[in-house]
Symmetry: C2
Subunit: 457 residues, 2 copies
């Protein structure tokens, strides 16, 4: 079967752009999570929408699974080809189609990495704001509705996509949306596709909203004695109507890891913030208010206006956190939680997760996009200790249960992938899940598009 | 048949909350557009989700059409029951379920009018930002993805809805979304419902995002010699990265109408703007830049920082514009265009529409939410002059054609309703429309939900 698929793919994309070499398959069988590796049968690198269309038509005709692949930086097994088949690597479809400079928009192919895109956009004074940390592909960000440190001000990926070109499971190509900021012309297929994790179609082109690079900015580092104190300050800042461009909570353990490689911060629970504005005066006024709020929550050290270099180092450390953690515990299985709650519930969920570390005897640390109510924890267990590994799942179950009780969600930005499927009915209810399944069956009747994700087919 | 439906409805909602009196039917057979009146068979006022569910189950069992009704303020025939049947008036489901003050959120029933809701929210220092001018119901705003003067800063309705309760065509009740700002847990059913004009389900509860009332604001009135000059200034303001809370273009004819009742402005093409901010200093810095940009586009009079009373009068005039126009031409048919384009194309589409007035000999005026690229024109023709009325359609066809050429849309905020159906395939392509139709058939297989809207079943 593999040979048949391989030669079919080669006939579509050319001899050198399809492979079933073991080394290639291994690279496309895992993401950044600890979910089990599954190898595809064939990896293919198309260079046009027409080629993607031909690949999907082949897969549809032969009942072969298709999984899209960007940077492999997903965190919930979203891109692991659990049913084998074809992985479409979008690495050759990584072009900027057009910069619509005057409209603060860009049209790109899905394989472009967002850091590369933002580098190219710097000369226009523009940037794509959602910032997942890892150098994700735009296609992957759309598939998972990724977000990150700047979402608190600028929104998630779904808030910054205007139009898509999508290849459906039957090989048909559709356009969704338009380049108008305002659109009320029929069903919102753009948002149906965003966050569908490649289970309804494959994005082959996207028009994104951009923002002007901020003229003035200021970073803030606020240190607290306890994680609950810091979490209270988060709620204070957001609840007062301030509009930070980033508001991250990093616990003392996570700071310790950041300090190993990059930063030199006090090893205490810390808020990392950034404020953007058109005028320095307005930022300074905001900073005064932020300082008062932090003081009221027991802040023990407050540093505002840190210079560009130091600010860059802080964010480098924050973004490197995952990588550092994994390298410190190379032989351990890890699990990253991604619950998100209304901001008023943030102190409660943060304190709860913090207590669970002790209660379950779990080795981990807490951080996350606090300003959005998004809490990440990374927890570890030895690979050869199934009992401890089961505790990781228990930890996740408890935190998710609590988040849903607090009107939140099991996943703020990593997507459902493999690991969050078991929470879907509890979060949404049977009715909504049944509706989602019906939409899946409608648009992918034979279940070839990234099967085994979000829910079983 | 009517008697059967009526007694079925009375058995669900009680004797006094269903009616087939002619006066009642007439009130529910039209909206604010010139689309033909169609009377429903019965109007029913449920007071709970359970009653809505029972009504829909009855309709599904008997193949009776169901159309939701809020304020009747739609502008494209969206709420006209073209196939008769049952109109559900949500007037009794108009309660605030909960103000989530600390989260800047509110949960409401769909029948609440947004001005009433914002009045109730004032004491919390919060407001729901989308502002369609007319005192629309929240249910209607969600159905049409309404927006308005403040969307340029705060987004459309779809950007400000977090969670819904929806009664589907089979009578099943589903929940979509959550109260978390960030959500990546499966398909985005919330956005599938927003803008679907009641053709996929009926919203019975909604959780909305709110914003803090601005601490400081300033209004600007800038007068120009020509509409193209004013349109150029619009592009200048938005293209410079300024973030107005409102940016409206109103042509001299429209100013003349506003002056009849409310304002006292020079009868020239005019930009009406508003800026919101946390600090007076930052607003003043913005205003200087706005003045420079307007001057560069040939502004002949620039007034900034107009007081609260005068500012309120300007917006009262702007919002009363439609009503004034209709009362000036009581015996005429009118047509309101609603195209929207990328901002760089705004000067071109505004100039084009302006020229068409002369070219087609049409009586009308141009205004709209310029900062979003949204152009409204209202054009008139005598009711007894079919030739002139055909010209209205030609005008609309031309403007829509041009907007789509410019990567825009046939409707920025009024929805497809009846009048925009003919443009849907041209705008989206056969593939996307076919996908939309499939979704409609999936969720409403017998076609009872607001039939005849968006597309023929």
């Amino acid at each position: 079967m593999t040979q048949e698929i391989l030669s079919a793919m080669k006939s579509i994309v050319g001899e050198e752009h399809a492979s079933s070499a073991e080394s290639v398959l291994k690279l496309h069988g895992k993401d950044q999570s600890s979910h089990r590796v599954h190898l595809p049968d064939v990896v293919v690198w198309p260079d046009s929408t027409d080629q993607v269309k031909a690949i999907v038509k082949y897969a549809a005709a032969h009942g072969v699974a298709i999984t899209g692949w960007g940077a492999g930086s997903s965190l919930e097994g979203n891109s692991i080809p659990v049913k084998g088949g074809i992985v479409i690597n979008f690495g050759r479809m990584n072009q900027i189609v057009q910069v619509h400079e005057a409209d603060f928009q860009i049209t790109v192919q899905p394989g472009i990495f967002y850091k590369d895109m933002n580098k190219a956009l710097a000369k226009y004074g523009l940037f794509f704001a959602p910032d997942p940390g890892a150098n994700a592909s735009i296609g992957g960000m759309i598939a998972n509705n990724a977000s990150g440190t700047r979402t608190v001000k600028y929104g998630a990926t779904r808030d910054n996509v205007l139009a898509l070109e999508v290849v459906l499971a039957n090989g048909e190509v559709i356009r969704t949306g338009s380049r108008s900021i305002k659109q009320s012309a029929g069903y919102d297929l753009t948002h149906l596709m965003i966050g569908s994790e490649g289970t309804l179609g494959l994005v082959t082109k996207a028009t994104l909203r951009l923002h002007p690079l901020p003229e003035h900015f200021s970073a803030v580092v606020a240190t607290f004695e306890s994680t609950p104190d810091a979490a209270n300050a988060v709620f204070g800042v957001i609840g007062s109507g301030l509009n930070p461009a980033a508001l991250e909570l990093v616990d003392s353990e996570a700071i310790r890891f950041m300090n190993m490689r990059v930063t030199n911060l006090p090893e205490k629970p810390t808020l990392l913030m950034e404020f953007h504005g058109a005028a320095a005066a307005s930022i300074n006024a905001e900073l005064e208010l932020v300082r008062e709020i932090c003081d009221d929550s027991g802040c023990i050290r407050f540093e505002a206006g840190v210079g560009r270099e130091e600010r860059d180092r802080i964010w480098e450390g924050r973004h490197a956190l995952g990588e550092i953690l994994f390298s410190v515990y190379p032989d351990q299985t890890y699990l990253i939680t991604d619950v998100s709650v209304p901001i008023s519930a943030y102190p409660e969920i943060a304190a709860y997760a913090n207590e669970l570390f002790d209660q379950l005897g779990v080795n981990g640390s807490l951080f996350g996009h606090a300003g959005d109510g998004n809490v990440h924890t990374v927890i570890f267990a030895p690979k050869d200790d199934p009992e401890k590994q089961a505790v990781l799942q228990t930890f996740n179950d408890y935190v998710v249960q609590k988040a849903i009780e607090l009107d939140g969600t099991c996943t703020g930005e990593h997507g459902v992938g493999i690991g969050k499927q078991k929470y879907m009915v509890h979060e949404h209810g049977e009715g909504a899940i049944s509706t989602m399944r019906q939409v899946k069956h409608l648009l992918d009747p034979t279940g070839i598009m990234n099967p085994g994700k979000i829910f079983d087919f």
